[in-house]
């Protein structure tokens, strides 16, 4: 892979100085003349029918300018609940029966919006909420997915609690190959186990906020979004206006992690309040509102059954999985992992289930950290039971083709695993006899591997040049944290053959930037980056034909490529190796070594790419060892909303991660770039759990692996 001039060299973010000096303007920094402040009244009940809402006293409070409820504002929030969880699909949104409104009746989880107020200041708005009288008829509720499927469970929707697919049918997600049932009957070894994962909040530093104002019939919405184009379209559709009547602006945001590539109910509510009040409105969630009003990762229960030959070759894998979606299907609820293994017989049934908890949806690698934790813990356990080294078991059974059928554009998974084992010193750190260390403090090593989508797709870019050879790149990215502004600039500079300083990047404004796919699915570099290359190709051709512009002229080139892969699948690969130290007396788990090896294709910017792995691995530590939105079972109230009770990792909890990239260029995407942002978190919970097993000889099966579980297993 030949080196490039600009791409591939560590480059500080182009907005780093603005961010660290406080000059960067986030949504909550936007101040508009005459701006009002909004507050949202949220349901105190997990499930209740609203008999009546009386806003008379709140209306009478001086300074209150607008109040919305389900009675005044029966507006559907299309992105909030979609049949089958299929985002970005207008046709499915149209036919969706289990619709989510901006304000719903009945309310189906604690924290669901009941009313919203805009007032002259936030204190008046808060006082007004207290003057709204809501008469609730309390309904029975259910919190856990398996309980929600029992015949006597309260029904959250009239059709029952199985979340419906894109045809409104209450059917699970299935995948079948071969005959698993027959394999279980004849295989020499069959193993069964149950794993579970918890609800983990995305927990961005920046709580949800929005500022909306209307200029005639045109809405301008400032909001932290990773997808200005998708947010624009969602807002227009929900409000029943044309896309061009909505301008979405996001110049800086405080983290995405997967739940910001649509409009959110706060955006819709703020826009409608601004319309009703005839003035700009700002809404900012409290940390607690953010935890219960926004979504998090879907919790899962996973029952595995695995058949293996005497030589350790996988014969069959069965999964019966249940995902807790909250009362709306905002995303798929799938459980990933089966695709990691070559296996002739697969029987995979995952049922997404409605519950009366905070809604679950996309969070960094939506369905993979849960599923990879389950299956990679299960397979690690199987390896021990067959007296095999888990690394050898993995290499023997890992997928080498997608679903054993379709070849990958390149395949480096084995190289990732072998390099990781070497850097980590696996043969020295892994204990053939788990829990064998003497004394109360025991060490152990574990590993996991992964493959993750890196497909191609449509996006756009515009590049222009003026008479002074100043290049301007227009891209619809906002930078959710991965450094997209800088990456797009690097790709443009590389393609143009000029230094980065000669390229101005314009981002984050639908009135100025072309469509972008949105920063989710780790695809911006691949898709929008490729559009940048195509736009530059066009500009260079124009330059060759017309020469440099003169005077006040500019040359402009736009590209919206939609490249396809025929007969191949494109994946990123990776392996994480973790050593833990378990204090068996105090139940404390500490990470003492962490090696992450990734094939994310060609690395555009090693500085930010490494940061992505560090950040994702740290989030994985939170998922593995700390985080869980705990509910009081009797009342259905969330107890651990917020950074304190949810035990989000601090800097002191972040492991030192040694990152190594297996670089290559498979000829697709932008200079061979593949996905990276999500892939780091996918691996860590399983690797940490496997290391804990190696240290103490006890298999933990339920996330998060907190002190009570460690001490309970050792008791």
């Amino acid at each position: 892979m030949p080196a490039l001039n600009t791409v591939g060299h560590s480059t500080p973010r182009i907005d780093a100085v603005e961010r660290v000096t406080g000059r960067a303007k986030y949504t909550n920094d936007v101040q508009l003349p005459g701006m009002l402040y909004a507050k949202v009244l949220r349901s105190p009940h997990p499930h209740a029918r609203i008999r009546s809402i009386d806003t008379t006293r709140a209306q009478a409070l001086p300074g209150v300018k607008a109040i919305l409820t389900h009675e005044t504002t029966p507006v559907v929030w299309g992105a909030g609940g979609i049949a089958g969880g299929q985002q970005y699909n207008d046709e499915v949104k149209k036919i969706t029966k289990h619709r989510r409104y901006a304000f719903n009746n009945p309310v189906r989880f604690v924290g669901e919006p009941v009313a919203a107020v805009a007032a002259e200041n936030r204190h008046i708005a808060e006082e007004a909420l207290r003057l709204i009288a809501v008469d609730y008829e309390i309904l029975p509720f259910v919190l856990e997915p398996e309980a929600a499927l029992e015949s006597d469970a309260p029904k959250i929707w009239p059709e029952g609690n199985i979340a419906v697919n894109n045809r409104n049918e209450p059917l699970p997600i299935t995948q079948k190959r071969g005959d698993a049932h027959a394999a279980f009957a004849t295989a020499p070894h069959v193993f069964e186990d149950r794993y579970s994962t918890s609800f983990v909040h995305n927990a961005q530093m920046e709580p949800r906020s929005a500022v909306a104002h209307w200029d005639g019939d045109k809405l301008t919405l400032y909001t932290p979004t990773g997808g200005i184009s998708n947010c624009q379209h969602d807002m227009a559709r929900d409000l029943g206006i044309a896309d061009e009547k909505v301008r979405v602006v996001c110049h800086y945001m405080g983290g995405n992690f997967g739940n910001k590539n649509q409009n959110q109910d706060g955006d819709l509510i703020t826009a409608m309040l601004a319309k009703a009040a005839g003035a700009p409105v700002k809404l900012e969630f409290s940390r607690k509102d953010d935890f219960i009003g926004m979504h998090g990762r879907w919790p899962t229960v996973q029952y595995y059954k695995v058949a293996v030959d005497n030589d350790g070759t996988l014969q069959a894998v069965q999964l019966r999985g249940y995902s807790g979606m909250g009362p709306y299907r905002k995303n798929s609820g799938a459980i990933g992992g089966i695709e990691l293994y070559r296996c002739p017989n697969v029987d995979h049934v995952v049922t997404p289930v409605y519950t009366n908890r905070t809604v679950s949806a996309n969070f960094r690698g939506p369905e993979f950290p849960q599923g990879f934790f389950g299956i990679q813990s299960m397979m690690d356990d199987v390896a021990y039971k067959l007296n095999m080294d888990p690394v050898e078991f993995g290499v023997k059974n890992m997928s080498r083709m997608f679903r054993d059928e379709v070849p990958f554009t390149n395949f480096t998974l084995e190289e990732c695993i072998r390099r990781g084992a070497e850097l980590f010193d696996w043969t020295q750190r892994w204990r053939p006899l788990p829990g064998a260390d003497a004394g109360p403090i025991k060490r152990g090593a574990g590993f996991t591997y992964m493959l993750f989508r890196s497909g191609l797709g449509m996006s756009s870019a515009v590049v222009q040049v003026d008479a002074n050879a100043k290049y301007t790149l227009f891209v619809g990215v906002t930078d959710v944290g991965a450094g997209a502004k800088t990456t797009m600039g690097l790709i443009a500079a590389e393609a143009l053959g000029v230094p980065l300083s000669q390229v101005t990047v314009v981002w984050g404004d639908t009135d100025r930037c072309p469509y972008s796919v949105g920063e989710s699915g780790s695809r911006t570099t691949i898709m929008t980056g490729y559009a940048v290359m195509e736009a530059v190709r066009d500009l260079k051709q124009q330059l060759a034909e017309k020469g440099m512009p003169t005077g006040s002229q500019t040359l402009v080139a736009k590209a919206s490529p939609n490249p396809r892969l025929e007969g191949k699948v494109r994946n990123a690969f990776g392996a994480h190796f973790v050593e833990v130290e378990v204090d068996t007396e105090l139940g404390h788990v500490r990470l003492t070594k962490y090696v992450a090896v990734h094939d994310s294709g060609r690395i555009m910017n090693p500085l930010t790419a490494t940061s992505q792995i560090l950040g994702a691995a740290t989030m994985g530590v939170g998922m593995a060892l700390h985080e869980n939105l705990v509910y009081d079972q009797k009342s259905g109230q969330p107890l651990s909303a917020g950074f304190y009770y949810d035990r989000i990792p601090t800097h002191l909890d972040a492991p030192t991660v040694e990152v190594s990239f297996v670089e290559n260029d498979d000829g697709y995407g932008a200079y061979g770039a593949k996905s990276i942002g999500e892939s780091g978190i996918i691996l860590s919970p399983g690797a940490i759990n496997n290391a804990i097993f190696n240290a103490i000889g006890k298999r933990l099966k339920d996330l998060p692996i907190t002190r009570d579980k460690v001490l309970g297993a050792l008791a």
Binding site: H123, L586, G587, K634, S640, Y644, R647, D708, G712, A715
Partner: protein, 327 residues
């Protein structure tokens, strides 16, 4: 948050008067020093004061004075300053260590010793506004609920655990608390300062609504004793103790003359272990003795449905804290 007014007090007597006047006028009043916790409670409407009486301007509120080996510490001293104070670090190391273990540097910079000792519980039922004993109700939701962080000693009818890190150290150091109230000044021992829920389920100490905690005294008899505060927390910073132990050993060569062992995170008050202290007194602190002390530490403990792990954890914390204090 509810709108409130702020009144700055110059001295404790004026603070008491401001509180009495507010209460006489039917207003809710709260004292505020660092405010790191109080403001969070106000924002969440867990408490709804009409008047905040600000103690930051009190004269000499953060002074540390020594007299014949005894030390008096102003309740307004910041936790950070306390943890770094030369006399406290060398003469009363368990307290310095406890103060340095609180929360985060930001909170230690503004949070005070008085506020830390008198802070309200961090039970998630209380802080989420459940109508529990601490919120003026008449039940404890943790008993049959999510009680993984709750009491294994001294519980009932409330099962909160006392959240303070400095309180176990102060109790282990035989500290006394000087309080100014409507009827003048009084000094209360640590034993009497903290109250169990069975005495008063609504509060954690004897401070009345018009009482100001002014200073805390450490006796000369404890100066120079070996000490250690061992805190186990569920992440590396910014949580309260799951279980902690303050151990103070007065040594005679390698023989322990007398010992104080006080637990945090396990009971509604700092929980002293007299039987463990007697086990150590007059003995050489051997590894084996520490194991036996750990085992003895959970005599009388009763786990709730989800906190049985605190029993082995307490044993381990006590064993280690004793060995670490021994040095």
């Amino acid at each position: 948050m509810k709108t409130f007014t702020n009144s700055n007090a110059r001295d404790p007597q004026q603070a008491v008067k401001l509180a009495r006047d507010a209460h006489a006028a039917g207003k809710a009043a709260s004292f505020v020093a660092g405010g790191s916790d109080l403001l969070a409670l106000v924002k969440e409407r867990i408490i709804q004061p009409d008047v905040l009486i600000n103690l930051r301007g009190l004269q000499n509120a953060s002074e540390v004075t020594s007299s014949g080996g005894a030390v008096t510490i102003g309740a307004g001293i910041s936790l950070d300053a306390l943890s770094r104070h030369e006399t406290i670090r060398t003469q009363f190391p368990a307290l310095a260590e406890a103060a340095g273990s609180v929360a985060t540097p930001q909170i230690r910079n503004v949070g005070t010793l008085g506020g830390n000792v008198a802070q309200r519980p961090w039970c998630w039922y209380y802080r989420n506004g459940f109508p529990c004993y601490k919120n003026g109700g008449n039940q404890c939701f943790s008993f049959a609920g999510e009680n993984q962080f709750h009491a294994i000693f001294g519980g009932g009818p409330s099962y909160i655990v006392h959240p303070s890190d400095t309180a176990p150290a102060l109790m282990a150091l035989d500290a006394t608390f000087r309080i100014v109230g409507p009827f003048g000044e009084r000094t209360v021992s640590a034993k009497d300062f903290f109250v169990l829920p069975r005495q008063n389920a609504a509060q954690e100490n004897v401070l009345g609504a018009d009482d100001v905690l002014v200073s805390i005294q450490l006796p000369a008899a404890m100066a120079g004793a070996r000490g250690r505060y061992h805190k186990v927390l569920d992440r590396e910073a910014w949580t309260h103790a799951v279980v902690s132990a303050a151990v103070v050993l007065k040594m005679d060569g390698d023989v322990c003359r007398s010992a104080r062992v006080v637990l945090g995170g396990v009971a509604p008050i700092p929980w002293r272990l007299p039987e463990v202290e007697q086990l150590l007194a007059g003995q050489r602190i051997t590894d084996d003795l520490a194991v036996r002390a750990g085992a003895a530490s959970i005599a009388g403990a009763r786990a709730l449905s989800k906190n049985a792990y605190k029993l082995p954890l307490t044993k381990g914390v006590v064993r280690r804290a004793i060995l670490e204090a021994r040095g």
